[in-house]
């Protein structure tokens, strides 16, 4: 009798284990399927254009000539612009929330910043079209043209739509990501580091600059890379604001196109096999880049915040 229940136990346990294992393997399977879809779908484009796909300047569906360079350019420039705006802001927020803010203010302010991350991309998009774009056209762009107009970055006609708008909306969208992860990293810095600096007579800022930030450096870099990954792959808001013209222009006022936005725009309208394949090939480029960035970022953040659990300060 006893042995039979034991056996049932074992059978049930083994079944249960197999079930959970299957679910876990399913996750790996999904990533493999995504990779395979992109690789097989892009075969046609890569076999026709080879490496020139990445260096070709023209994206011309009418003449079946596809080069991803203007898309890659747009993706990188809009994301870098976002980082330039978002990184100092996010570091300020993280330092304020982890080091300076009074205790009662910390949790509500972090909640508000996290709320920014919860807003769907499409809502950023509609807000961008009707609020941000007019503001850029009437205030930001003329201001930049008047004061920094000698730079090629700020020349030409400001339509409102374009690279600058995409960069600003991306900056707003990645700020909560970077600041939340950096804040966690700063909280993981042991208090002994701070106490040692303060005991030597350092001010709060000196403590942060020379003890806290260097200790969390790799984690903060990881947070920035996570933000970059998010910016590179962001689709809807950018599609609605960047103007959707695949071109390389030094001016931030000009229209542009990113990999994600061209896919959103053209995927459903591409009835030509080569066009479709070129879009999938562009997606593969984006996939590989974001995958590498994410792997790098996770390893960096894990190093500071000690693995997936993210040990917080008591």
């Amino acid at each position: 009798m006893k042995i039979i229940t034991q056996k049932n136990h074992w059978r049930g346990d083994r079944l249960f284990y197999a079930l959970t294992l299957l679910a876990a393997l399913g996750l790996i399977g999904i990533v493999l399927v995504i990779t395979w879809e992109l690789v097989s779908g892009s075969q046609l484009a890569f076999s026709k254009f080879g490496w020139k796909f990445i260096t070709n300047y023209y994206w011309d569906p009418v003449n079946d000539n596809f080069g991803a360079l203007p898309l890659i350019y747009g993706t990188i420039v809009s994301s870098l612009l976002a980082l330039i705006i978002a990184v100092p802001l996010s570091l300020g927020i993280a330092i304020y929330l982890a080091e300076l803010a009074p205790q009662w203010l910390r949790s509500p302010v972090s909640f508000l910043v996290e709320l920014l991350a919860a807003i769907p991309s499409i809502v950023y998009g509609i807000w961008g079209i009707f609020v941000l774009i007019p503001w850029i056209r009437t205030s930001v762009a003329p201001f930049l043209a008047d004061n920094l107009g000698w730079l090629p970055l700020f020349q030409g006609t400001p339509y409102g739509f374009g690279m600058l708008a995409a960069g600003i909306i991306l900056a707003i969208m990645i700020t909560p990501t970077i600041s939340a992860v950096s804040r966690e990293v700063l909280l993981a810095v042991p208090n002994s580091q701070r106490e040692a600096m303060l005991a030597l007579g350092a001010t709060r800022w000196e403590t942060i600059k020379r003890a806290v930030l260097p200790y969390g450096r790799s984690g903060i870099i990881g947070a920035v890379i996570l933000g970059l990954g998010r910016a590179l792959g962001e689709t809807m808001a950018v599609t609605m604001l960047i103007g959707n013209r695949p071109q390389i222009s030094p001016s931030l006022f000009d229209l542009g196109q990113t990999i994600a936005s061209i896919i959103a725009n053209e995927f459903n309208e591409s009835f030509d096999q080569l066009h479709l394949s070129a879009l999938v090939a562009a997606a593969l480029v984006l996939f590989v880049v974001t995958l590498l960035l994410n792997i790098m970022a996770r390893l960096l953040v894990w190093r500071v915040a000690r693995g997936p659990e993210g040990v917080g300060r008591e």
Binding site: I28, I30, L116, A118, S121, I126, F130, T203, M236, R298
Partner: protein
Amino acid sequence: MSILKRSDSAETTRMPFSPANKGRSRRRKVMDRLMGGLAVIATMIALVPLASILIYVTAKGMAAINWDFFTQLPKPVGEVGGGLANAIVGTLVLVGLASGLAIPLGILAGIYLSEFGRGRLGWSVRFLCDVMTGIPSIIVGIAVYGTIVLTMKRHSAIAGGVALAVIMLPLVTRTAEEMLRLVPNSLREASLALGASHWRTTLSVVLRSAAGGVITGSLLAVARAAGETAPLLFTALSSKYWHTGLDQRIASLPVYIFTYAGTPFAELHRLAWGAALVLLSMVLVASILARMAGRKAYGGR
């Protein structure tokens, strides 16, 4: 924090960081204030877009929302009125479908990671999960298009639901794992000592005591999926009519916002703002509920 405040008095004593030089000490104090002030300003700047978005979406959205908005189908372009009832239903169907797939699977995978996954496989799955959250959602759309839409030879609600499920899955898995890990081992041991089998222990003791946290994680994933647009463009597409079956294309709020905001018609813009308000309310309510559930389960953590 009381330690930090003591730094002021430390400056008057002779220590490496506070030389007797009065001017330098003042400069350091000014620098301290300045950087602290900049940090406050950065935080305030980040909250400006949040306030602006909430105010605009509420104000413009309220102007668009009426009884018709929730009960009528969209009217052809050029006609005034109509609503987005089919898109609201569509979003609920898609999110429901995605949750039905992703939540059970995610919890099972989370159980694997927390209860069995100590080896190399566990580490890989955990890592892959974190990396998966960074995959652009539009790429998920392409992959689901290639696997499901091409096989079924039509755009469908199922494809849309699967795409959203793929986005939810890593989020559910990782939070489920983290919550299950917080359950003290003594509970597991007590249950096993009473003669319960491992699976029984996991389901009725471990999972049950972590339920609050697991629900929080799932709700956050639902909130994320509800607002996703990019993967739906190639999978669920959109529709002007009520949905008639899971193997048919289906309307959704995000896709309607995308198409309507891109048109030059004021009437459609009005509806798009209304849709944005409904969508944002759904997402924010889910996020806030999730936070409250989490707080209740873990005492304000």
